[in-house]
Amino acid sequence: MGAVEISIIGLLFGFLLLAIPLIISNWFKLGMGKTTLWSIGRMSVQLMLVGFFLEYIFALNNPWLNFAWLILMIITAIFSAISRAKLKFKIIFVPILIAFTTSTLLILFYFNAFVIKLDYLFEARYLIALGGMLLGNVLSVNITAVNSFYQEIRSQHKFFLYRLAMGANQREALEPFLRRSFQLALLPALAKTATIGVVSLPGMMTGQILGGSSPATAIRYQIAIMIAIYTCGALSVLMTLLLSTKKSFDSYGVLKENIFAR
């Protein structure tokens, strides 16, 4: 048993719904008409292309191809993160590369091996779908963490230097800044997690139920993946921040001035 197929005509009815936000935009002169059409259009084309590739990849289910696709996803996430981080490429590239790759692969294979207990660890459906969920979160929490970390050190530079003057070693001097950016990056997701099931039904669970899984199965997946997402986010933030500090402070422990992009 699977979800009911959406026909082309059905999809057109779906697009028809867009008339409502477009009328609202026009009415209040929001100027969002063009952006709406562009965003929805872009998403549709991207998804059609991805759908085409995924059909192909799922049908072949070749371990090398599956893994290569996952790596491609990771690389895309890395470059997306770098373009949104306010640090120069040469400072942030290696930390993000190592953090994203290790944390995602580690948590993903642990999840597939011990939580789902897949016989075939490179099974396309699990590797790619779950990998995407982990990466989406890794991307957003790392951007928040890295930007807030360096911005706070810069805006509270006096406090940072005072800590050094008080005898702090590099890690001790950075401690309150690490603490704050961890909290900023991870707490919002945790707060959202706490309301799941009451306020919102998460996308993956909805998808699974529509796809024919029993709610009991969908719930177990949802619980396990939320934990995996949270852990993967925390691990990647730790690695990004600690690795980036190696290049962004001089040998006297002071923040370098030329690390910020633009």
Partner: protein, 222 residues
């Protein structure tokens, strides 16, 4: 000849930085030393780069050329961490962090470099009352303290660290005349401690035995 024992010494220091319109020279072949136990006051118009003097000593900035010595040893990126642990530093509108005052104090004493420094409750109480700070402040959130209270609290912490060299940047400018007098007398009284004070306040220079350095002219005037 009396043997000099410099605690800090600048030898042939050059340092300039670019402003929008010109290159500003702060140090041009500057030689400057503070001997152990001395009380030195540095004055000069604002904008002359007095704080740069402190930034150089604490390793927050490096000179273009020349060397800085701490107890006759050249300051490097390796030994700067030790040098900092020998200097108690307080500047104007000091930022000590967030949270309860007593927890903030405990945190600074939890640094590895300070782990051997101990102070008794009695010492803390004595220092606080000397600086006219109520003991109830310890239980307060630091954001509820006034600027003057924060300044004096930082001085208390600096003294509790019992470091041989104390550097103060405009610490008395925010204090009312009465507490200014208390603070100056207390800090000058400590014979062993070397003191380097950057200040506009004339009161410091009136204390006996104080040496005075004119930063703009780069020469000793008293």
């Amino acid at each position: 000849m009396k043997k000099r024992k410099p605690i800090i010494e600048f030898k042939n220091i050059f340092l300039d930085f670019k402003t929008k319109t010109k290159i500003k020279e702060i140090f041009k072949d500057c030689n400057f030393a503070v001997n152990s136990g001395q009380k030195v006051v540095v004055f000069g118009k604002s904008g002359t780069g007095k704080s740069t003097l402190l930034n150089l000593i604490l390793g927050f900035k490096q000179p273009k050329s020349g060397s800085i010595f701490f107890k006759n040893k050249k300051i490097t990126s390796e030994n700067i961490w030790h040098v900092r642990s020998q200097i108690a530093y307080v500047d104007q509108d000091v930022m000590m962090g967030e949270g309860l005052v007593k927890e903030i104090i405990d945190e600074y004493f939890s640094f590895i470099a300070n782990s051997k420094v101990k102070f008794s409750q009695k010492e803390l109480e004595k220092q606080m009352s000397d600086f006219d700070l109520d003991l109830s402040l310890l239980e307060k959130d630091i954001s509820h303290l006034s600027g003057g209270e924060r300044q004096r609290l930082a001085l208390v912490v600096a003294l509790l660290l019992k470091r041989p060299f104390m550097i103060l940047d405009e610490v008395t400018s925010a204090l009312d005349p009465a507490s200014k007098k208390i603070v100056i007398e207390k800090l000058i009284k400590n014979k062993k401690q070397t003191l380097l004070v950057i200040t506009h306040d004339k009161e410091w220079q009136q204390e006996p035995g104080v040496k005075v350095f004119d930063f703009k002219e780069k020469k000793w005037v008293q």
